[in-house]
Symmetry: C2
Subunit: 303 residues, 2 copies
Amino acid sequence: MSLLVIGSVAFDDLATPSGTRSNILGGSASYFSLSASHFKPVEVVAVVGQDFGPEHFKVFQDRPIGLEGLVQVPGQSFRWKGRYDQDLNEAQTLDTQLNVFATFRPVLPEKSRTAPFLFLGNIDPVLQLNVVNQMARRPRWVALDTMNFWIEGAREALLAVLKTTDILLVNETEARSLSGEHNLVQAYRKICDLGPRILVVKRGEHGVSLFTPDGYFMAPAFPLEHVQDPTGAGDTFAGGFLGYLASTDALDLQTLKRATLAGTVMASFTVEAFGTARLETVTPACIQERMRLFSDMIHVAHP
Amino acid sequence: MSLLVIGSVAFDDLATPSGTRSNILGGSASYFSLSASHFKPVEVVAVVGQDFGPEHFKVFQDRPIGLEGLVQVPGQSFRWKGRYDQDLNEAQTLDTQLNVFATFRPVLPEKSRTAPFLFLGNIDPVLQLNVVNQMARRPRWVALDTMNFWIEGAREALLAVLKTTDILLVNETEARSLSGEHNLVQAYRKICDLGPRILVVKRGEHGVSLFTPDGYFMAPAFPLEHVQDPTGAGDTFAGGFLGYLASTDALDLQTLKRATLAGTVMASFTVEAFGTARLETVTPACIQERMRLFSDMIHVAHP
């Protein structure tokens, strides 16, 4: 009864106005699984190289995260180098080395093929579809992340996997580029015709917009005085959002709203420190407290 | 017991992806007063030229808007010509003719000098301070709008008027430029040292952030499928926000949150049509209905 994630596990070199870090654990599946594991056990399918040591495995093993699908192969792990200006919304990529990720062909362990909840991280849609096809039965829901590189460069494959998708998580530019509509309400309608019935638009520091058949919801980002490193905020959001959903096994509007708060709060922890540091140490009490603060903040009492 | 506004009344030429309009009623005081008048009687202090006809006066006279301070002088009214691309967030100014506005020196009618609520629209801070000094007694609150032109070009005068100000309404860039802080929570602290204790950051399609001594609040924009013309959305927000506040005569956090919803809903009507057209016709029932829809949308039920 786990939440299965396919994505990247990587090492990042980061420079932000708060400082620099080298060789720290990163990648979409890392942020996602560490975040989701606070709500639901997770199984990771990803690839790492020989540079991935016991201390890195331990970060996941300390949490309810299954690593049977985390394959280690000869070579170096995926490496990304990025920097942020004072406007922390946009990363500038300085270097990308796909390394072992370049030939990654996800193979699901036998026990993962019956996972009821599946998150397809942002990888080649051909591989995303191949993962769906490896499932022994249709999961209760499939969620998917993608980016303009695939929307523009692998549209046919992406449309094929979207047909099997219930929940799409993208940013504003991606929602517009996929749908051909600038207005997000209209973009949501077009995207519904492609498969997903739930659209989550990640807007960085502006928060998240949620579109569902039963209504819409917009949540701000949690206001923080000190943001150290925005890397992984979107994947952390996805982990908290989908982890919460998986823990309830519901998809009604109120549950989706609460899942949005969960994702937002988890992302607020991630950006307070470099890499996955804060995600590794945050306690259930801290999460509960911030969820309560955030609920109070956005709550408007009737007169 | 009115809400007094000092600002511009103008004619606009507008081009948006939805069409073009020439010579339509615009200006900050027009949008502000039409919006605020749905919650509280308003008095307008502004200047118009000989091109301002009876049909234009009638737009205000049809609402509880006092025009004793609307001076008509020889010459042409303030004229602005702007266009918007598909990204409706940013206006491109094609032409500005200050005309009679260039020599505008607001003089408050006797009865306006005791107004308990004062909104200083975005004009030269020297004039804003002069208006404050014309008041017979300190209003219950003073709210102020400004822009980077004054923040950079008339900083001393702006700092002087800010000392008398309770509520500051600006956009993100202006909040950052005024405070010298990129992070908005830190910007709020700096701005508190300058005078205002309440900061409203207008974020266009991303909504509004509210900072108060008792806590923060972020409201999204009301999601619309068809936006015709974003002109005046910020001034309409200010009108709904401050009109609602004036109607309650309270400044506690819950009242400020509800005022934020009122301003957001009024702005959502404005952008559905060109100029002030929708603001002129919207009914109390429409406003109530959309306030209810918006409250429901942002409400998160506890599990």
